[in-house]
């Protein structure tokens, strides 16, 4: 304890630890990095010196030489929100889905000693800023969440050779591993449920058809219905918002008042769909069955509670983190993408 705080106000360095322990800097470093070739007695002395000086390694110095940073970037890429009066960065942050992804990521990254840097790219300038930052080598890898199918970021990232994992398949094909749920299989679950309940006049409120995931849910649903002998699928497009879902349902109902089943491509939209049905005098599920997608918080909050296709979001996020760590640890080996199987969660609405 004697030689602590040699320099006023500055945290202890490895040099300090070594001096206090009476060993060389190299040995102190060995102890800290868990090298096995250190005598037990010396190891103890160094460990004591570490607590005595309350030493914490300087990550900048370490990363300067190791070229690792033990941190990854979580990049949220979204369409520019020019039209908004108040600048609102990171619309996606208020989406509980995003929170579940973060939670899953941290579940894996935290035990691995990896820190997470949060970044948003929502226009040309910020994209460049993000890319520059990433290229500075301040992170070992990138998790990219992109809601925009025309997002140039995946391609740009694939050119940096930085380990990267995408949430969802990239719109334009960038050769990057991604993690996704099997959209078609999910749509099939929904179709089977509705048909099994004897419903035959089935429609769907689809998501934006420029998004691959939304396309596949629609296509998958149509295909599954056809396989079950139900053809001619009326549908309307929503924008994955509650209000958009409500509007789409109104259109659908106006054209097809006889509907007895609806597959809604997201729970959030379903939250808009159900009240429209109720107000139109339909009982749910008695008159019209509703099946959502996601199994988000909204599904349980809905009245009646939503029967929905569950995406194992947290598990998927964990898998993303694992794929990323693997890339970081074994450079060059781009791991395969992983597609998760959805499940059907039966509640009240169908």
């Amino acid at each position: 304890m004697a030689t602590e705080a040699r320099r006023p106000g500055r945290p202890a360095t490895l040099e300090d630890v070594a001096r206090v322990a009476g060993v060389s800097r190299a040995t102190a470093s060995r102890v800290i990095n868990g090298s096995p070739t250190v005598d037990a007695a010396l190891r103890r002395k160094v460990e004591e010196a570490i607590t005595a000086t309350s030493y914490a390694p300087n990550r900048a110095a370490r990363s300067l030489v190791t070229r690792r940073t033990d941190s990854v970037a979580l990049v949220v890429s979204e369409r520019e929100q020019r039209q908004l009066a108040t600048p609102f960065i990171g619309r996606m942050f208020t989406d509980p889905h995003f929170g579940r992804v973060v939670s899953g990521l941290l579940q894996v990254l935290r035990p691995a000693g990896m820190q997470t840097v949060l970044m948003v790219a929502d226009d040309e300038a910020s994209r460049r800023q993000v890319l520059t930052y990433l290229r500075q080598g301040h992170v070992d890898g990138v998790v990219l969440i992109s809601s925009d199918p025309n997002d140039p970021l995946p391609r740009m990232l694939s050119e940096t050779a930085l380990p990267t994992v995408l949430a969802g398949r990239p719109g334009r094909s960038a050769a990057l591993p991604y993690v996704e749920v099997d959209q078609r299989a999910g749509a099939q679950l929904a179709a089977e449920r509705l048909v099994a309940q004897g419903r035959r006049l089935i429609g769907t409120v689809a998501g934006p058809q420029d998004m691959p995931a939304a396309q596949e849910r629609l296509e998958g649903f149509r295909g599954a219905l056809a396989a079950l002998g139900v053809t001619g699928l009326p549908w309307a497009e929503g924008d994955f918002t509650r209000a958009g879902g409500a509007a789409a349902m109104r259109r659908l109902l106006a054209d097809h008042p006889g509907l007895d089943g609806v597959f809604v491509a997201s729970d959030l939209m379903a939250l808009g769909v159900v009240p429209v049905l109720l107000r139109a005098g339909r009982r749910v599920p008695e008159d019209v069955g509703v099946v959502g997608f996601d199994d988000s918080e909204a599904a349980e909050a809905s009245e009646p509670a939503l029967t929905t296709v569950r995406q194992p979001v947290e598990d998927m996020a964990c898998e993303m983190a694992r794929l990323l760590l693997r890339q970081i640890r074994e450079p060059g080996a781009a791991p395969p993408s992983v597609v998760f199987r959805p499940t059907l969660v039966v509640r009240e609405s169908s």
Copy 2:
């Protein structure tokens, strides 16, 4: 372009830039850091060399010498979630409120060139991990969001002398600047609204009374009612969840069936309160007026839409970021805390 990529696969260094530009490393550094004492011609040559080599400064090296990192930590501190079967890190992430805070923070931090590192402290071990990380000097400052009034983290942080800003007043008094909304003033707005509508049998669904904010909303509401001549406030405690709000409302209604007004200490709880009232045969707002708190997404989603006390969350988060930046730029000068005025947003429920 001739001398680019001297070392295979490695990004260009300042040395490379200097060589290409035909100047010393010092001069190249001056250009990059915007020093005014550089000849215009040389400056141009250096800038050309930078683009030619596609140079990006190594932040680790820079921060090693400057002792700045140009990044801050966003620490989310929450009560341990032992009881959960699935480990769920960062329950708070799924709260849209959190997203709004992040959005506000980034609005200020991003233009300031500050990166944001996301961290969660939810038990003793993770708290230590976070604290160690912060002490390693890997961030210049900390934004702490804590939902637990007994959280030891604020005190621990105030001992590190690291610039810090809290979201909300710390439970135990830690001498750290915070940003908050004036809870009492908000409760007063709610009281005035309900009373102005001629309601006299007013109750409240309060938040957990071990949380200062929840206490103040209750106290402030009681005080404001008294000032308006309404005494004897029936109340029940909820846990700031929808289900908790519903349960509290049921208790309240059982004991006081004649209620004609309810102040609910959060919009999320109000989302549980309203259906309870409706199912008990009360019309909202005709029979019972409901005023929420937060002006969250939930308020607009509610049916009927909630009249609520608005917290300017994004503005508050911006202010937090500003306070933090000020502390970072002027070390030693702990800025004062800032208390925001809430406003009343009138919708349908009251």
